[in-house]
């Protein structure tokens, strides 16, 4: 699964905070430890029901994909469900031999193709046939979906994973008495995933891209927005380019695994009816087998400054949509809190300015919303506005109305009552989130990885509480500037203009 990007303003705000007393209460339920190989564990005890949610968060996302191999982190996510050398095979030694053969033939094929026009079409055809045969042979030893089967059979639910620009996250929930199964399977899979059925799975991933991006006008608009906003930073590739995906190699996937799936670059979170001592005991049994490795490289590329407004049209027969984005600093920047409150004041519930004015009063839009973090939680990103024009209304009219509001926000201060409302909602949302083992586990993990401490999800509230109306005005003036804006609008296909 590739994480949907725009999860709504409400959800974006949910990654938040609680007052200091809430944190103290919560801290009593959280235990942490780190194994010798650097693998960190966070355990949240919640004894409402005998179930446990289990999260493996790996600090590698699509922004870490090597050039020319976009989509690779996502591809590897899919491969982590392809079992191990003892599970999922009917004859590992034979299968292993054929998997190696597949790679050997593929190497020859690529080497021939790399010659370009000097290569031999005949040889390419021959090698392609040879490759198909080797793949079929290797696939003949597969005991399909054995790993998922064991989890399901044991009562596991919600088995899934996602890859975002920041991270690859694997998760499911188990009845509390079967938690050892997670230790066993997870420690085996993340010791060495097998590149089993890689080239069939590559087709599956290609279908996923067709479904999410190519057969959806919203997907096309999203790609246009991100890829126009970011010209250099690798978070621009999202799910990966179609041609890159079609040429991904198992050996690339293995290399990415070796480099990024090292214990110090991952965190394991267990939330539910678990005993931290028991978790520690099992962790000591199962996970020392993961070999320690050096911390993988961080993303070096910095997006070059944007020197002027960018506008892009996307042709689609669908009804009109408008996406607008302004560059904003990384989420660890001090301006993050005012930007979040600003997004809340602009677009939360039915009191947000965008909804009230554009949807209710002017009836220009069906949807008008803002999100302070249009992408992940690691890199300098974008503050996003979206609008879906009402019937008979245009993207131009919507853009004009939206820009008017944006200009007003720079000139006029929000009332204190608005700030209070947003702050109250932020706190309430965190409390509401506490009743989900899985939701909490994922948040603990991402806060630990991105901010160095899971407590950040609570301490961030202090920053939010300190935000003033002047802060909102200041960040609006600083970041909502024409030069840093990218607008993507849909338009009807031009008649008779080719296919």
């Amino acid at each position: 699964m590739f994480q949907p990007w725009f999860r709504g303003v409400l959800l974006a705000l949910a990654a938040l905070c609680l007052a200091a007393q809430d944190l103290k209460e919560f801290e009593k339920k959280v235990t942490e430890f780190t194994l010798g190989n650097g693998l960190h564990f966070i355990v949240l005890e919640r004894k409402e029901a005998p179930v446990v949610s289990l999260v493996t968060h790996v600090n590698v996302g699509s922004a870490n994909d090597p050039a020319g191999k976009t989509g690779l982190a996502h591809m590897l996510e899919h491969m982590a469900f392809k079992d191990t050398d003892s599970l999922g095979t009917t004859n590992w030694p034979e299968e292993k031999k054929w998997l190696a053969q597949v790679e050997a033939v593929y190497d020859k094929l690529e080497s021939e193709k790399n010659k370009g026009l000097r290569g031999s079409a005949e040889t390419v055809r021959k090698l392609e046939a040879e490759l198909r045969a080797a793949i079929e042979k290797a696939n003949g030893f597969v005991d399909k979906e054995a790993y998922s089967k064991v989890i399901q059979q044991s009562g596991g639910v919600g088995i899934n994973a996602f890859t975002s620009t920041d991270a690859t996250v694997y998760f499911y929930s188990l009845p509390a008495n079967r938690v050892e199964l997670w230790f066993l399977l997870t420690s085996q899979v993340f010791r060495q995933p097998i590149m089993r059925e890689f080239y069939k799975e590559r087709d599956v991933v290609r279908e996923e891209r067709r479904m999410r991006m190519e057969s959806s006008s919203q997907g096309k608009m999203l790609e246009a927005l991100i890829q126009t906003s970011f010209l250099g930073h690798p978070q621009r590739s999202l799910i990966g380019y179609a041609s890159d995906i079609e040429n991904l190699r198992a050996k690339d996937s293995e290399a990415l695994f070796k480099q990024y799936y090292v214990p110090s670059n991952m965190v394991m979170v267990l939330a539910g009816e678990v005993d931290p001592k028991e978790v520690k005991r099992l962790a000591d049994q199962y996970f020392p087998a993961l070999p320690a490795g050096p911390a993988p490289p961080r993303v070096i590329t910095v997006e070059p400054p944007q020197e002027g407004e960018r506008r892009v049209a996307v042709e689609t027969p669908s009804q009109p949509l408008l996406y607008m984005a302004y560059k904003r600093p990384e989420p660890s920047h001090p301006d993050d809190a005012p930007l979040q409150v600003l997004a809340g004041a602009l677009s939360s519930g039915r009191t947000g300015v965008l909804y009230k004015e554009m949807v209710e009063q002017k009836k220009l839009s069906l949807v008008a919303a803002a999100d302070s973090t249009g992408l992940g939680s690691k890199y300098p990103g974008i503050f996003v506005f979206i609008a879906a024009p009402a019937v008979g209304r245009t993207t131009e009219e919507n853009e004009k109305a939206m820009l008017e509001i944006i200009e007003r926000v720079k000139k006029e201060k929000f009332e204190d009552a608005v700030l209070e409302r947003v702050k109250n909602q932020v706190r309430a949302r965190l409390i509401r989130g506490l009743d989900s083992n899985m939701g909490m586990a994922q948040q603990l993990a991402s806060n630990y990885i991105n901010d160095g401490d899971w407590r950040r999800m609570f301490t961030r509230i202090q920053d939010i509480q300190k935000v003033t109306a002047e802060d909102l005005q200041r960040v609006a003036t600083t970041y909502f500037v024409e030069k840093a804006r990218t607008a993507v609008y849909s338009k009807k296909p031009v008649e008779g203009a080719g296919k």
Partner: protein, 702 residues
């Protein structure tokens, strides 16, 4: 030295172990098969207090102090299947405006400010077979929020400005309903299965939306929202006894009574099996749905059918379809099979997914083969065990939150299911055998009845859909534009309308003769001007509401039969196919427009007859049909008829060559204009009235 010390410690520790002291960490298991699990802790079922208030409202309370929150919901017996056909969408509009339109004491905006200021919510919604008003608040604000909740439930005001906002939103939804191919597939599949003209398959259109007015919302509320018609459930941070008192007091003055809500309309539609294509040009994947109507949760075989659907295409990655179509063939990202049983009406069995356009037919074919395999061979013991154990071992997740436990209780109560329904299900799943799975697959999956819907771009399909060897029908996704505004209507115009119609009746031979008409037929030569002057010989026979049309076209004979109930068939040189929904709709329109019955519209209580102009009568019905007849003052016969066609173009029929036929005066020449341009000409060679036609004869295939 050092080594010796280590050895010593090791032997010491093993000595301690035998003495019953803590064991050293055992080694990690190598395989899941070695794992031994302690029994799962028993599920702690929370105490739920239930009672019925004096006004008839049922209440369930579940006290739980884990978080400082209180949540609640009133489940109301209502549903969009009860919406009048000409106001389809009423429930959707109502569900929203009930909350956004404010209450007697506060406007919607005031509610928004108040609730969002304390991070609380009160929301209302009406679905297919039930409605709800719910709230969610931090416990410190329970009092305030409960009071608003009660006001929304009992005294919504439906202010016009918010009705306008919601109608604008709904128009937007209608205009965007074809934008996402996946959504088109699930919607059109449901409409095909349940029947596009039935309460279960109808959809809101601009026209039906326009008719919805504030008064309708007020009536809706009066009719359905009364204490005896709802179940109230609350859970969270409160003391049960205090909450009970609070609710008694809060609702003491609400004692409205209404007759019981009628039962759900029956599901009667029988979809014509075959392949259906909805064209969508801007996609490179085909979104497909394959299946037919299914069953209910209370059916004896429901547990076995769930096991069956799980093995075929259940959640997770272990199903046959995922293994075959995804892992082995790499044709899809998402594919699943569902025995989507419902509480109180038949659900649907369906397989859905999406694949690149080029592999459309291949994917559908493989899925059909997998379904066939399930119907002909027993599943393996391992498959059965995985499916059963997956359900049984994950059973605890049905009880992992108070909210879930309470919601299920209310659901079962609402639909009249036993309180232990879920445990009966658990027991039944445990007892399912391989033979059961085969039996229910044989009995309940009927590949001959499958509706196979593909939404995509047929030019790119690797093989044409006809390669599936089934009739291929097109699904029309055109969104009907709102028809022209209805003419002004008052006592005077209504009287004049009847007058016009009655003068036509007299001129045509008398109302009684028209009323005595049992069957009708004509033979005509039709020249289709739009089609380059193509000549067609046409035979029309009707025993209302049954219609049969036989046409001799250049490439062969085409026969269309409409059974008067939404179904029928069409037969041509390529074979026979079920009547596509838009053709059925057209047949209904033809019936409405048939001149001889149209002239008698003043005798039909379902029709409104109104004078739009002094010499123009407008005839309309509740299905949204509307036609205008212009009177020829010299002859007192109609000179022309105007209506909207299946597309959006305005249609006009000019009548001419009036002659005697079967005791009536009937037009023998008709010119059809489309958007003001001549489209066709029809010369009637012969009329046959009351010739003793039988509906059964019309049904006979050529």
């Amino acid at each position: 030295m050092k080594a010796a010390a280590v050895l010593l410690m090791a032997s010491l520790s093993s000595g301690q172990t035998t003495a019953g002291k803590p064991k050293p960490a055992p080694l990690a298991a190598k395989s899941y098969k070695e794992l031994k699990y302690k029994p799962l802790k028993e599920i702690r079922m929370p105490e739920i207090v239930s009672f019925t208030m004096a006004n008839g409202m049922k209440v369930y309370l579940l006290e739980n102090h884990e978080l400082p929150l209180v949540r609640g919901s009133a489940r109301v017996r209502v549903g969009n299947v009860h919406d009048p056909a000409d106001k389809t969408g009423l429930s959707d509009v109502f569900g929203q405006v009930m909350r956004t339109g404010g209450t007697k004491s506060r406007t919607g905006d005031q509610l928004n400010e108040l609730l969002e200021g304390i991070a609380a919510s009160v929301e209302s919604n009406v679905g297919e077979t039930s409605g709800s008003v719910s709230f969610n608040t931090l416990s410190e604000h329970t009092g305030t929020v409960l009071e608003i909740f009660k006001d929304v439930l009992t005294e919504p005001e439906f202010r016009q400005d918010k009705i306008d906002v919601v109608k604008t939103q709904m128009r937007g939804l209608i205009s965007r309903r074809n934008d996402q191919a996946g959504a088109v597939a699930s919607r059109e599949f449901e409409r095909l299965l349940y029947g596009p003209a039935t309460p279960w398959g109808r959809q809101m259109e601009y026209e039906t939306l326009e008719r919805i007015e504030r008064q309708d919302l007020i009536h809706y509320h009066q009719r359905y929202y009364f204490p005896g018609n709802m179940i109230l459930s609350l859970h969270g941070d409160f003391v049960t006894s205090t909450m009970r008192e609070k609710l008694q007091k809060l609702f003491a003055d609400w004692a409205v009574k209404q007759p019981p809500v009628p039962p759900l309309p029956p599901v009667t539609h029988q979809a014509a099996p075959g392949v259906y294509l909805a064209e969508k040009k801007d996609v490179n994947q085909t979104f497909f749905q394959i299946g037919h109507l299914g069953g209910m949760l209370k059916d004896k075989d429901y547990p076995a059918l769930e096991v069956m659907a799980d093995i075929l295409g259940g959640a997770g990655f272990t199903s046959r379809l995922v293994k075959k179509v995804r892992s082995e063939m790499g044709l899809v990202y998402a594919v699943g099979a569902h025995w989507a049983a419902q509480y109180a009406h038949p659900g649907m069995f369906f397989v859905s997914g999406s694949t690149k356009s080029a592999s459309t037919v291949e994917t559908i074919r493989v899925i059909r083969e997998e379904i066939e395999r399930l119907r002909t061979t027993e599943v393996t013991e391992e498959e059965l065990q995985v499916a059963k154990e997956s359900t049984l071992n994950s059973f605890v997740f049905n009880f992992d939150s108070p909210a879930k436990i309470l919601a299920r209780l209310v659901n079962d109560e609402y639909h009249g299911y036993p309180k232990d329904f879920i445990f009966q299900y658990q027991k039944a799943v445990a007892a399912v055998t391989r033979a059961d799975v085969l039996r229910v697959a044989k009995e309940s999956l009927k590949p001959g009845n499958f509706v196979i819907l593909a939404v995509g771009k047929p030019e790119d399909f690797g093989a044409p859909l006809t390669a599936l060897n089934l009739p291929v029908n097109k699904v029309d996704l055109t969104i009907p534009e709102p028809k022209a505004a209805m003419a002004k209507m008052d006592a005077g115009t209504l009287a004049r309308g009847r007058q016009i119609l009655q003068s036509i009746q007299t001129a045509a031979g008398g109302a009684d003769k028209l009323a005595a008409l049992k069957d009708y037929a004509h033979t005509a030569d039709v020249t289709i001007l739009a089609g380059g002057g193509m000549k067609v010989k046409q035979d029309v026979r009707m025993v209302p509401p049954v219609i049969r049309l036989d046409q001799q076209l250049p490439f062969g004979k085409l026969s269309i039969y409409y059974d008067g109930k939404g179904g029928g068939w069409m037969a041509g040189p390529q074979g026979t196919a079920g009547l596509p929904p838009q053709a059925a709709r057209q047949a209904q329109d033809e019936l409405f427009r048939l001149h001889v019955t149209l002239w008698l519209s003043d005798r039909d209580p379902e029709r409104t007859v109104n004078a739009a102009e002094p010499n123009v009568v407008e005839i309309s019905d509740k299905q949204g049909n509307r036609i205008r007849l212009t009177l020829d003052e010299k002859t007192n016969l109609p000179a022309k008829a105007q209506y909207r066609g299946a597309g959006t173009a305005g249609m006009e029929v000019l009548y001419d060559d009036w002659k005697e036929a079967g005791g009536l005066r009937l037009p023998h020449k008709m010119k059809l204009l489309q958007g003001g341009k001549p489209a066709a000409e029809l010369l009637v060679l012969e009329y046959k009235l009351n010739s003793g036609l039988k509906a059964e004869e019309l049904a006979q295939k050529p």
